[in-house]
Symmetry: C2
Subunit: 223 residues, 2 copies
């Protein structure tokens, strides 16, 4: 139970962050109804900023509002996760394109460091560590190439995408040995300042993951 003092400028934002974390960490379960009075008391606030935060989350699709019924934690079907991969495909493709077009030398140095602990290894076994590097890498490309609108959209949908990983067994759609190459290729294209290549490689990377997810569904169905 996080304690919220009065020391913050904007309670809304703080509450929003807390709720987001609670949802991603499965403290609030998908499908579950959010009891406003109860939750507000637990957080030591009134319903006003809580509802404001819930409205934010509604926009980010993490929560659903049924009029006169209340807010419910959103549940994502696998099919919806596939759509989100499709979205990320084109959006991060765009981010990669722009990144390649405006990357600085300092950023190139940083980019080249990504995945270096894994490059030497004959086989990658620490999935958790790789998955974390994966997330950091994607975020860094966004930081370089996406601003304003693109960035705010990606923030929203990547959160959903990542929060889903909590459910999936190892947190990855495909094995590191398969994706490492793709990641390195994207890095090279950006460092070469080749926007076309960067976009295409990033899109391919996602296309393969989406395909893999879809396959996974098919297998699940037949099993």
């Amino acid at each position: 139970m996080p304690n919220l003092g009065a020391q913050h400028a904007n309670l809304d934002q703080k509450v929003y962050q807390i709720l987001k974390t609670m949802i991603m960490e499965r403290k609030l379960l998908p499908g579950e109804k959010i009891r406003q009075e109860k939750l507000a008391q637990e957080l030591g606030i009134s319903r006003t900023p809580l509802v404001a935060a819930l409205k934010f989350l509604e926009h980010e699709k993490l929560v659903e509002s049924k009029p006169r019924r209340g807010f419910y934690v959103r549940l994502f079907k696998i099919q919806e996760m596939v759509s989100i991969f499709e979205l990320r495909e084109v959006l991060e493709g765009l981010a990669a394109r722009r990144a390649a077009g405006q990357v600085t030398n300092t950023q190139i140095d940083r980019l080249r460091q990504f995945f270096s602990p894994f490059k030497q290894l004959p086989e990658i076994s620490d999935y958790r560590r790789y998955s974390q590097e994966d997330r950091l890498f994607h975020n860094y490309v966004i930081q370089i190439g996406a601003k304003e609108f693109l960035r705010s959209i990606l923030e929203t949908y990547n959160i959903i995408s990542f929060s889903y990983q909590v459910v999936s067994s190892e947190g990855l759609v495909r094995s590191p040995d398969e994706t490492l190459e793709e990641h390195l290729a994207v890095i090279e294209a950006i460092c070469d300042r080749d926007p076309e290549a960067a976009e295409n490689l990033m899109r391919n990377h996602f296309k393969k993951s989406a395909a893999s997810l879809t396959e996974g569904i098919a297998k699940l169905r037949s099993a």
Copy 2:
């Protein structure tokens, strides 16, 4: 001054619609501070649903909140309009791809009707009518191909895009004679159920418009 009775289930949504219209119709001017008490009174409501609606609009970037300072109508720089075109390029490209993959025969019939009043003409002079058809066409592709996430993003950004047209002289970035062909090509690709072509053609369509906008800026600068 629209009159809001108590007859609505959700005031938030109604107020949100009204505000959106007011912003797009320039009843609230970009940069202007929104006087909450005053506006709430004009609408005959309290600040609570007004603030809720403003938070919605903040998410859609039509309004900006400065903490402890209030809400301001957002002002878009031309550079930001270009970014929005870039966004629409990849997003509507995706919509077109998906549209081509799942279009029904009925929808094909409807699609082929778009722009037919303009096809015969040697030259298109009624810019307003063409601009309206343009908007309807893009919305229809979205209706066919985009659902859930993609649709909600496009709704947001197309609104900004269209609301900008109110400012620009004739409401179009390029002349109809230039874009008609492109529109028809996209229609054909979708009706042929060719996702790749549909996406590429749609993206090209936007790429050219973005380029044209950028050129416009350059000209403005040198003038």
